[in-house]
Symmetry: C3
């Protein structure tokens, strides 16, 4: 861990990242609770379609995306299959952002993308909250705590004990060996583009590189529009991750590739 000395000055904005989907009122209820505790809160949905129970994907997205939000934002992540058991909830402070997340791999994945951060393990009993259910801590703990932080009614270091050991992330890391990087597909986006776990940019000394997915080569391009009809291309996407894409078509649907499919980048120049 790398202690962050920056203090947290909330801007009143709270983001929500969950695996709740939008089919049920769960995300809406969290907003109600936030508004009940802090009427001036501004709430933005980062995403409610994290693959069910895949906290690490939420941690990855938050780690790669939070800096697009204003300093002083409180980011709430609820992918929480262990709700009501003895799993911990943690608060992370980093780069003028605060995060509330379950300690189930999500928080560890998140901090792996931060330069400098501090964590506290929440002590819900010590906070002035209503009695929590055993099924929905997003509503009963995460939302009111986020409202307390965003309204400056609590500071991160008042929420519990510092420096907890975090449950490690199960997300696979790309492996570098000689002049090649081997990673894998992590998720498909709405367009069917397949994002890998290989972050850009490639090493500077690699003037050119070949990307292959199983036996197929994917040409590395800068813009989606550079792909020729039917051509499989590789592109560093807006997360900064290598992605496999087809022009105006879904690589997820047109190819047999999905989460876990290996992707390899080799230096060729």
């Amino acid at each position: 861990m790398n202690r962050s000395a920056t203090s947290f000055n909330p801007c009143g904005l709270i983001t929500l990242t969950t695996d709740f989907g939008l089919q049920d009122p769960f995300a809406g209820i969290m907003k109600g609770v936030i508004k009940r505790h802090f009427g001036d809160a501004s709430v933005v949905d980062l995403c409610h379609a994290v693959p069910p129970f895949r906290g690490e994907i939420a941690g990855l997205w938050l780690g790669l995306c939070h800096h697009w939000f204003p300093e002083g934002t409180v980011h709430v992540a609820v992918v929480d299959p262990g709700v009501g058991t003895d799993r911990n909830i943690v608060c992370i402070q980093a780069r003028c952002h605060a995060f509330i997340a379950p300690d189930n791999g999500l928080a560890a994945e998140l901090v792996s993308h931060l330069d400098s951060w501090t964590a506290w393990r929440l002590d819900p009993e010590a906070l002035d909250l209503d009695i929590a259910s055993t099924t929905f801590h997003g509503r009963d703990i995460f939302a009111p705590v986020a409202a307390m932080l965003a309204s400056a009614n609590a500071a991160p270091d008042s929420l519990g004990s510092p420096d907890p050991e975090l449950v490690p992330s199960a997300l696979p890391r790309p492996i570098r060996k000689d002049a090649s990087l081997t990673g894998e597909i992590l998720f498909a986006d709405h367009f069917g583009n397949l994002s890998t776990n290989i972050p850009g940019p490639l090493p500077k000394e690699w003037n050119d590189a070949t990307v292959s997915v199983e036996a197929q080569t994917a040409r590395l391009v800068r813009a989606y529009g550079e792909a020729r009809p039917g051509e499989t291309v590789a592109i560093f996407n807006s997360f900064g991750l290598l992605e496999i894409a087809l022009p105006r078509a879904s690589a997820r649907d047109r190819r047999q590739w999905g989460p876990g499919t290996p992707v390899r980048v080799s230096k060729t120049g």
Copy 2:
């Protein structure tokens, strides 16, 4: 009906609950109309994925969830297959919350979850609204009326005539007989958990209970994480309703159960 004497002091917040989905601009248009009438309105989506035409499900969700929102919230529910016909629109006031809903079973289901409430039948012609279409009263009537209430430009009792007879809800009720309760599955959530119409808590004198879905027994647990691999469990969910669930898997997809499947709870201790 049980007359509520509380006056309504709006807090500026409006929630939307519809069966519009998010595939079309309909929910967004309602927000535009609200903002046009009341620029400082804060609008929260409770849910736009009510099963199509199932107003009672919207009434159930609002009845069980509205109290998580601040006092003074205006809740708008539009599940309205009768739009443009002679169905009524009603305003309900209860517990410092106001509701605008079509009188098609939705409103009756909602008030069945309230202790004390008053209803008025809207008289749209008497309100200062633009001429309504025959296809989208969410936009033409519900949204501007909600804005009038939320901005304190109208009080519930100014919207029409009091104490209308409400169209009854078609939602089935659980039946108690001796030491057992028989209900049924109402809907599946995003995780595939199957919510029933059986509200908790169970009678106090039932020290222990057996839950069965068709021929299968479901162990009653407190937290999802208590389920053993592959085990079917029953749990009182965050709505307060008995729910059938599988650990980190979809009971809707893995079992042949769905809306209408009977669920039985029997006293065993």
Copy 3:
């Protein structure tokens, strides 16, 4: 083009219309960027489910729906398969609304629904923006420019050069011949209702009209509730477009009709 002389007085509201879906954090990230540039911005999702790459549908929806929002709203449309190539981005001002859109048919479709408007081709290099990626201009250009407009930190005419030639819309137009109009189905909504490209109202001298979809006749009704069980009806929907619908059922699922299916309206009275 028809020059609009009205000046643009922003009200602080920004709408988003994209083909991003809600499965990924892309729409949320745009809101973060907007809030980072203009903390008091109010952001409303018009729709994120434009059919992928179908900019013209976004242009159609914005053209038909923007007037439900307050004057001074900035509408952002990102259906942008050409991101990172040399396609242009334009700002349109019309009727006290401003629009930011890619010039790929979307903008031309939009202005075809406006009486009076002015367009400027954005010159991103001349604006004080961070270096844009080649994959997500919604985040890197559209969002900050919308924030500049909505906060009155920039006026439409300061964004670039006026009066660009717009890339035409590929959306088919209905054809009028003698006493009949022939159009086609454009899209299905969440309920499975099939919207055509035939705008209402019908010519005044047509006292009565027959609507047919392929060999089947659809009775023209005023309200969905007028349809008899199983009957295929035609109705001018809330966009003002002729729509084919079934009572409380999905015409998309129950019939073999979809985008491109011809629909004909003939004068009969």
